[in-house]
């Protein structure tokens, strides 16, 4: 029982972590809390669903969803944040403009797909189950877990070992200084939004596959948990997101199993609140990707 | 009146201020000079509670200031200006000065909420006084301009007006002449001298402009690498070989 709960918690936690990476990346580079992120999570899932229903193989559909999510992220940056950057607006305006774009994206999904919950075809999501000791899980769950981990490792490597990563870190550290050494700020911002949003979209697809449900409101079930993840792990830290995601996933499943399912979310937010008060930098906040 | 007793402030391995002992008497225009990074701003931050000393004590008329919060120190009669202006950017010059009167303002909240006439009259009196103060500093026309739209020299004078408005016993000025032209500097000097003579405020003037410090201050202390290397009258300071060396060193490297 305990092992099974741990395994379940790890699966869902890895999806939370992937989703939260988008928050952390954008906050780290632009100091913005992007409240449209959950809507891209949802649109990524819809895109993959549409592709799958058109007969596209699942892996290609996931890539397509990621691409769509990334482009929606770049669009988001252009319409909601770029104009505010230009006039050096305070921190409040971008928060509201990201909410506005989130409304537009969710509204579009509502208009196109209606308010009902959609499902992937059964033969797409049905995979063999694996039993390891006391834990049972599906091949798909395992793939989701490993896929999330691989994407996070890839992102960390990208930031640490490539020219692009160096530019992102420089901009996160000090945009003005980065500009002085010849880094194109706007290009870095666009790329950051593309990557963050593509990851968010993949998280949405994996989440939808895990529960086999896609709906226009699915973002609201993760947007606050994503915040809890980055606060717990440390804002701006990629390993922190992973750790935070796994811990939140585990705490959810364990609290359902051993406390009461009613207070499941209260425990997540109590953790969030306590971490903010006791250690606002989170568990790994000091080792953020600014210094990766 | 203000005394620093063997005050040290360390930032990591850096001794920003080291074993500094200073006594600033009442009604005196006291100069604090030193090359860049000597620890002058840090000394002001220590007095105003923005930084806590690593060792040593600071007191105002025998009352300990260290370990008090900045707002408590301000309420005891210590006001300051900042090296880079810290006006409230979206308030007008006048509103900035009115906020400066916070400690002494008596327009009670309840009276204001109820629209009680004496409270409203009080608030009006504050604005009148603020306008006068700006007038004394030659800023009458700029009183209703938003602070961040003011020229740098004007911002400095508004900041000075805001500090004076607090009716301090001691006023700490961090490079008030930086960026001013000679005419403005001359004027600033007269204003500072007048503050000491007419209002009886003690002033601690941190400044790079030697001519200003030498002509205005009665007594001067010199910091170098956080340590006090000399203290005395302008004439003594001017001829002190240690001071000359500290400054020549800077000029040579500059």
């Amino acid at each position: 029982m305990l092992i099974q709960q741990l395994v379940n918690g790890l699966f869902i936690g890895s999806v939370y972590a992937l989703f939260a990476l988008g928050y952390t990346l954008i906050f780290g580079v632009l100091d913005i809390l992007n409240l449209a992120h959950a809507s891209i999570f949802m649109l990524g899932a819809f895109t993959a669903l549409v592709l799958v229903l058109k007969g596209v193989p699942l892996l290609v559909a996931i890539a397509g969803g990621a691409l769509a999510g990334g482009l929606l992220g770049v669009l988001l940056d252009r319409v909601a944040f770029w104009p505010l950057r230009r006039r050096q607006a305070g921190p409040l305006a971008p928060l509201i403009s990201s909410i506005a774009v989130g409304m537009i994206y969710v509204g579009a999904a509502n208009g196109i797909f209606g308010p009902d919950v959609r499902h992937f075809p059964f033969d797409v999501v049905r995979t063999p189950t694996i039993t390891l000791g006391q834990a049972t899980f599906t091949l798909a769950q395992l793939a989701i877990f490993l896929g999330s981990l691989a994407l996070m490792v890839a992102l960390q490597a990208l930031l640490r070992y490539t020219r692009f990563g160096a530019a992102v870190r420089a901009v996160a550290e000090n945009p003005r200084a980065a500009q002085l050494v010849g880094i194109d700020l706007e290009a870095v911002y666009a790329q950051t939004f593309f990557i963050a949003s593509a990851l968010g979209a993949v998280a949405g697809i994996l989440f939808a596959l895990n529960f086999n449900a896609v709906s226009s409101v699915m973002g609201s079930s993760v947007e606050l948990k994503g915040l809890a993840v980055i606060i717990l792990g440390g804002m701006g830290s990629i390993p922190g997101s992973l750790l935070g995601g796994l811990l939140i996933g585990l705490s959810e499943d364990l609290s359902v199993a051993y406390l009461s399912s009613n207070f499941r979310d209260a425990i997540v937010f109590a953790i969030l609140f306590l971490v903010l008060i006791i250690r606002p930098t989170g568990l790994l906040g000091q080792r953020g990707f600014r210094s990766a | 009146m203000i005394s620093l007793d063997a005050v040290t402030k360390q930032y990591g391995g850096v001794h920003a201020v080291k074993e500094l002992t200073l006594e600033i008497p009442e009604r005196m225009l006291f100069g604090l000079i030193g090359p860049n990074g000597a620890g002058k701003t840090t000394a002001l931050n220590l007095i105003t509670g923005l930084a806590a000393p690593t060792r040593g004590t600071i007191s105002l008329d025998g009352r300990r200031l260290d370990r008090r919060k900045p707002y408590e120190i301000a309420a005891l009669g210590v006001a300051r200006t900042y090296q880079t202006s810290r006006l409230f950017p979206y308030m007008t010059a006048l509103e900035n000065v009115v906020v400066g009167m916070h400690v002494h303002a008596r327009d009670s909240l309840v009276g204001q909420l109820a629209g009680w006439p004496p409270a409203i009259a009080q608030a009006r009196a504050l604005r009148t006084r603020a306008r006068e103060l700006l007038g004394e500093l030659g800023l009458s026309e700029r009183a209703d301009a938003v602070a961040r739209s003011l020229a740098a020299g004007e911002q400095r004078r508004v900041e000075l007006a805001r500090a004076i408005a607090a009716q301090p016993r001691v006023l700490l000025l961090d490079e008030p002449a930086a960026g001013l032209n000679p005419v403005e500097t001359e004027r600033l000097r007269d204003e500072i001298v007048r503050l000491v003579r007419e209002r009886g405020i003690g002033v601690l003037l941190v400044e790079h402009d030697m001519a200003l410090v030498m002509s205005a201050c009665e007594r001067i202390a010199v910091l170098d690498f956080g340590e006090k290397i000399a203290e005395g009258s302008p004439a003594q300071i001017r001829n002190d070989p240690k001071v000359i060396e500290a400054y020549l060193g800077v000029e040579n490297s500059a």
Partner: protein, 279 residues
């Protein structure tokens, strides 16, 4: 005749909603005026709503006694929340307050006396449009006077430069706590008004989404004055009604208009009115 009555009821409900939203917008505005972004106001609203409903239905209290008690409880919760989060800034403060709001909501679902996820039904309609708007007028007036007072100046100073403010003798912690408590009181009072002007309350009335909407009211209306949040609440409450004909696409246009306001009216919609009257 029936249609007339129905139309009146439909409109009075909308009118009530505008008034209550305006109060909620003012409640976030108060904390913003002191430089703090709080998204926990739904938690305060819920505390006062449940408390006042229980006091009236079970304790047989009169409405105003119950509403003010509920609001006072919300204010006390505001102090309790405000104290530990004093040192948090910006987004971190916002997230902490979101956490608080969610915890309150989850408790509302699970406590034995709050009616669970279905909430409490059959609440007597004790609140009229007149009560809502006279409350709004009084609170807006008091807040306007507050901005003119010593405390109001201190709020603005803290919001613009906390260090400079404390250097002038202003105690930031005290004023921030006061702002939290005032905001919580207003949100709580609005919660009581809302509860007694509809037949039922449920935890979903106090969701994160609503907190975000309320913040949008204040910012889109303009946080430079008391009138801004009221104007923003009116506009953004009416907008979805006007856009009903778009059906499922409604939020696209709604969001687009909010986006245009934020991008092209940095001082909020109220600044248009002000500019007109200044001419």
């Amino acid at each position: 005749m029936h249609e007339l009555v129905a139309a009146y009821h439909a409109h009075s409900a909308l009118l009530n909603e505008i008034g209550i939203n305006a109060l909620l917008a003012l409640s976030v505005w108060v904390t913003l005026a002191c430089g703090q972004l709080s998204l926990g106001n739904m938690g305060f609203m819920a505390i006062a709503a449940y408390a006042s409903v229980l006091l009236v239905t079970r304790g047989h209290w009169p409405f105003f006694g119950a509403a003010l008690t509920g609001a006072a409880m919300a204010a006390a919760a505001g102090l309790l929340l405000g104290w530990p989060v004093l040192r948090l800034r910006g987004v971190f403060l916002a997230i902490a307050t979101i956490g608080f709001g969610e915890i309150v909501r989850i408790f509302a679902i699970n406590l034995p006396f709050t009616g669970g996820a279905e909430g409490i039904a059959g609440i007597p309609q004790l609140v009229t449009t007149a009560i809502i708007y006279s409350s709004l007028a009084l609170i807006a007036f008091l807040l306007w006077r507050l901005t003119r007072s010593r405390a109001g100046r201190a709020f603005a100073a803290i919001a613009q430069d906390e260090v400079a403010a404390s250097g002038l003798g202003i105690n930031p912690a005290a004023y921030k706590l006061a702002a939290f408590a005032i905001g919580a009181f207003i949100a709580g009072y609005a919660g009581a008004l809302a509860a007694f002007s509809s037949f039922f309350i449920s935890p979903s009335d106090y969701s994160f989404g609503r907190a975000v909407d309320v913040l949008a009211f204040a910012v889109a209306g303009g946080i430079g004055s008391v009138a801004g949040p009221i104007a923003g609440a009116a506009l953004l409450t009416l907008l979805p009604e006007w856009l009903r004909f778009l059906q499922n696409y409604r939020d696209v246009v709604n969001g687009a208009i909010l986006l245009l306001v934020i991008i092209f009216l940095p001082q909020g919609v109220w600044s248009i009115v002000r500019r007109r009257s200044a001419r």
